[in-house]
């Protein structure tokens, strides 16, 4: 399982890459894509949608099930990665490259975990 140290993580298995103090990219972690299995459909949020930390922002579908994606922080969606609509497998192949959406006016980021704490969280969840 890969957990790049430069990223932040939510317990609900989303990663956050800050591109400035108030802007970030959000994607699904390696742990999440592995647990979900092969992804076959991605339902992205609308641009300009309000992300509220801890609430469902979009969903992904694997061969096993449909799963909600939770907003790891609050903010406003500025851009969605439309490339994933035709190629959801990119999330499996390159989870940290395949960002789902970008946010501006980011807030509520205090509870994000660092890589080490997230790995520990995954270990606990696995047991």
């Amino acid at each position: 399982m890969k957990t790049p140290v430069e990223l932040k993580y939510a317990k609900t298995h989303e990663w956050v890459r800050f591109t400035s103090d108030t802007e970030c990219e959000v994607g699904l972690t390696d742990y999440a894509q592995d647990a979900l299995g092969d992804l076959v459909f991605v339902n992205l949020p609308e641009p300009d949608a309000e992300a509220v930390k801890g609430e469902t922002i979009c969903d992904v579908e694997s061969v096993k099930a449909v799963s909600d994606v939770y907003a790891p922080v609050s903010g406003t969606v500025t851009e969605v990665n439309e490339e994933l609509l035709d190629a959801p497998e990119k999330i499996n192949e390159d989870p940290y490259g395949a960002w789902l959406f970008r946010l501006s006016d980011v807030s509520d980021a205090d509870e994000l975990l660092d890589a080490e704490a997230y790995e520990k969280h995954c270990e606990e969840e696995g047991n």
Partner: protein, 475 residues
Amino acid sequence: MKTLFDRSVPGRHCSILPACDVEVRTPAETRSSALHLPELSETDISRHYTELAKQTFGVNDGFYPLGSCTMKYNPKINERAASLSGFTNIHPTQDHVQGSLKLLHTAEKYLCEITGMDAMTFQPAAGAHGELTGLMLIKRYHELSGHPERTKIIVPDSAHGTNPASSAMCGFTVVNIPSAPDGCVDLERLKEACGEDTAGLMLTNPNTLGIFDRNIQQITEIVHAAGGLCYYDGANLNPVMGIVRPGDMGFDCIHLNLHKSFSTPHGGGGPGSGPVGCKKFLEAYLPGDRITEKDGVYSIEQRSEESIGAVRSFHGNFLVIVKAFAYLTALGKQGVPEAAQNAVLNANYLKHKLEDTYELANKGICMHEFVLTLEGLKKEIGVSAMDVAKALQDYGIHPPTMYFPLNVHEALMVEPTETESKEMLDHVAEIFLDVWKKAHEDPEYLHGAPHHSPIKRPDEVKAARHPVLRVPLHD
């Protein structure tokens, strides 16, 4: 297998039409190209469909333990009843066909008695359609009681996927609450989720792990105290029908799956039927017409203006109701609970035979179904629930439901139903144990299963990402 188009030979046909004995007129505008129709003899067509039929697997072919689906045997007497010309040669707008109205009226009475409801509509054509209808009743109730702010439906995470989907379709916001480890409702989490915006709760009982929630009355009381209503998803009624009633558990409205508990054909053999029952205070909102009886004469009466309006034409899938009614009358007041008890007995018998080998998601007595988790097997030797399910096909039985409920990893959900004999359950237990043994001896063999079915292992990912749903035609 070849398609009808592959089998087509130009000029070949079935000689079933007599020669044309009227003047042939050609319309002014006609198609400029030929129709793409396969040309075959009756023998070719007949063999094609028989070959297709041989590749299918139904409850008439063998054991079909699809958990949460209640794939019980469909008695032939049901079909006989539904083929009577008095039922098939009538029209819904025909006046006062007493026999059919009496059947609908009596079926409503019986099903209300079994469920503890006061009234029922037969319009919904399937379970999820029933869910939507029931939720529309709840919505209408809150709107007319001056509480349009009640917009949230609470759904436990072990619920059938249709519950949150139906809630969303009905314009509600879904509040997911995590279940306790036994799959039952976590009362504290439920209390936290309830509030002034709660429209209601959707629940199956027994739950998706096959466990009867002992706190059910407390659960419905908590929701009622918060001002919400309680919806019973009838998918798991089979083990409790005729024994406990959702109405007595505190539910306000319900749907039934006649194609599950009441033995009408399920899946591709449908159509289904998802009648919705409710307590008196919701009756005015029910869709469709009401059937009333006075001095032995039955008539059709329009519901009040408060009705949510039709959700389907007339009385829904009428002949399916005839089949369910045949089942109910064949079993009677004694037979209905007996069927439920046998469903529970069969599930526990099979569970007992497997529990020393396979790992159970929950120990203890189950209701009509039990869930195995193959997480340990997958970690240990890399054989997944999918591999085991595929291997079972080679023994001529249908695999159980896979990867559901979602809160159990590598789940296999087994529901034998009451219509299987002890001999069959013994045979099935041997098959499961044999697959377990093979998995340890030769995991690769299981990765490649099924080895003997007409279709091996389809590429599910490719099928989902790039579905091919039609045959390209060539000019």
